[in-house]
Symmetry: none
Subunit: 349 residues, 2 copies
DNA sequence: ACAGGTTGTCGAAGCGCTTCGAGTCTGGCA
DNA sequence: TGCCAGACTCGAAGCGCTTCGACAACCTGT
């Protein structure tokens, strides 16, 4: 300070660098962007000047001239009832990956609603958008279509045409559950799914899980029944009672219905089945639900970090104008907890 | 689209607005900024044009010309041992408050280290910085001093000269807990703190709580032991068992470890201690956690939202060149719930 | 030795906005 | 009636950067 310079403080501009290195401003720019060939000697001289002066390009000017802000928006809903730790895992993965692509991340909450999104996009503050925690009929989704910015959704809305979505591979999730149970010796298993209405409303993930479950069971040649399940306590009790009556030897249960999970665990003992001694239960649900359940549930979880990384990688490809797959499915991982065990070999094999 | 216009897509510029309203570009600018008087009729006409065209000022251009990006950085460390939900509360409060001041929030993680901060600041991408989870000897702190951007810390480093810091007054929080227990007649108490690794990192708040706890206990001349505590169920059980063995008369427990709180409550009965009959427990944690616990915990709450809001408010005042207090300590409040009671007067006294 | 490429560098024209100095037009007052 | 102080508005000069066309200075091959 007190340098007596013309401009404020220590703001070093590209002009300063050019003067210091004895080249034109445009040459410095090309050294930085690599968009034109620059001789090795000049490049070195420029780079030396940049280091010597501690130059950092002005983000605003760069954004203005290049029409690229090198910033992406991360839209977090932050509704109550969200599972925050998982959200943070996503967020961290997104930031880290974005930095690898030389982008920064603007944090946007849903408080502002769709207008917030529109503002961010229209002001050219961000080049693209990553949306998290997508609902089936998410109000933000229609907006995305007429926004001028590319976007990637983490999760699948009901109507996903023209969108890029990343999520867990529910087919594999269903399959993995079966494989786990089969490995434990279970030969008579069932899938307790979403309420019937969800299947009727062609909602991809429920169907895929069921397909993965059914087809895998078929491949192993074991008895497997899939059935929808209401979320009320009574609904669950009825389904389960009926199920056990029709399949007395049932020893493995896959539950793909977060709301019903607790009821299932509460109901089974009432029906004379201890978990995991008499019947193994594996769920497809968020970690939190699985951990909080009693006994802790073996479950298939969402690989948060992978999802975040994938989402950003896809967005970057879109930003460069490349085509990307509309749907990216990530491999589920099974975490074994206390609710599954080898089949009891009480009598015969 | 397909308008055959000269510029790309639908980018509406201030020039378009000016033309549409039949005024000069500068007039539009003044309508928007209010920095010069504009007649009501002109203002209305301009605003109408803005709405009609769907104009949003280009953030880059604005930042370049005004030297203000209207963006602040939120620096989250995202280390292990942090309690994520509370972090998110901070983050949400920061974003929401920032928006009220017409600023956006850039999410910065510590992965990049000090260089990341320097880059963000030097590129004029952000006007100011909010740092969270400050350590006693935080490597980012010295950097802040010679950065040209104002900043506010959430937490206190060991050396806080020339800095603006906001936090719960953890020393008082620790002290208040002791005072509460003492008032109930307890003479043999313990502090169950954060995991050891947190203390090793010299994280300010953990130290301050411990100091408040220890020194206050000393002042009252009572037996007090402070010890770190892991967050796993088994970790908690071990610590507690050891603690009770070494201090059989222990009747008061202060828990400053959100993640362990539930485990503590679950473990004590297993060790033959009923809460609050045999042992009183007071926690330093968010209200939510305290209320959800069983029995409901007497607790000192972390006013996460207030802290976040305060931090941004202070930063905004600094941005406007106003002086602000160097240290803002938010007074802890003790809420008495079901987990503390007067000491059992079984024998003497 | 010269047309026709490369290669490396420069100058200048913006990107969309803010801001400052310089008007123009009122109306109040002498 | 003439003058001056607001009240409004305009035009132009950048902010720091990217990018495009131009232009030297070298190569090739013939």
């Amino acid at each position: 300070m007190a340098e007596g310079g013309a401009k404020r403080a220590d703001m070093v501009t590209i002009t300063d660098v050019a003067r210091h290195a004895g080249v034109a401003v445009s040459t410095v720019s090309y050294v930085l962007s690599g968009k034109r060939a620059i001789s090795a000697t000049t490049r070195q001289r420029v780079l030396a000047s940049i280091r010597a002066l501690g130059y950092h390009p002005n983000a605003g000017a760069r954004a203005l001239a290049s029409r690229r802000a090198n910033v992406i928006a991360l839209v977090l809903p932050l509704r109550s009832g969200m599972h925050l730790p998982v959200l943070m895992q996503f967020a961290t993965a997104v930031v880290t990956t974005a930095r690898q692509f030389d982008h920064d991340v603007l944090l946007v909450t849903a408080d502002e609603g769709p207008d917030g999104l529109r503002r961010i996009a229209a002001s050219a503050m961000v080049d693209g958008i990553v949306l998290m925690d997508i609902e089936m009929h998410d109000p933000r989704v229609p907006l995305l279509r007429d926004l001028e910015r590319p976007s990637v959704l983490i999760g699948f809305p009901a109507e996903a045409a023209n969108l890029t979505c990343v999520d867990l591979d529910f087919y594999r999730a269903g399959a993995i559950c079966v494989e786990h149970l089969v490995a434990l010796g279970h030969r008579d298993i069932a899938l307790l799914g979403a309420p019937a209405v969800v299947y009727e409303r062609d909602t991809g993930f429920a169907h895929r899980t069921r397909a993965g479950f059914t087809e895998t069971a078929e491949r192993y040649g074991i008895d497997a029944v899939a059935q929808p399940c209401e979320e009320s306590f009574d609904g669950v009790r009825q389904e389960l009672a009926g199920l056990l009556e029709r399949h007395p030897n049932l020893s493995g249960l896959v539950v793909h219905n977060e709301a019903a999970v607790a009821h299932v665990l509460a109901t089974l003992p009432l029906l004379g089945r201890q978990v995991p001694h008499d019947i193994s239960v594996v769920a497809i649900c968020p970690d939190e639900v699985a951990e909080r359940a009693s006994p802790a549930l073996s479950s298939v979880l969402i690989p948060a970090e992978d999802v975040g990384r994938q989402a950003v990688a896809l967005l970057m490809r879109k930003l460069e104008g490349h085509p990307v797959p509309a749907a990216t499915l990530l491999d589920p991982r099974l975490t074994v907890r206390a609710s599954t065990a080898a089949v009891a070999t009480a009598v015969s094999s």
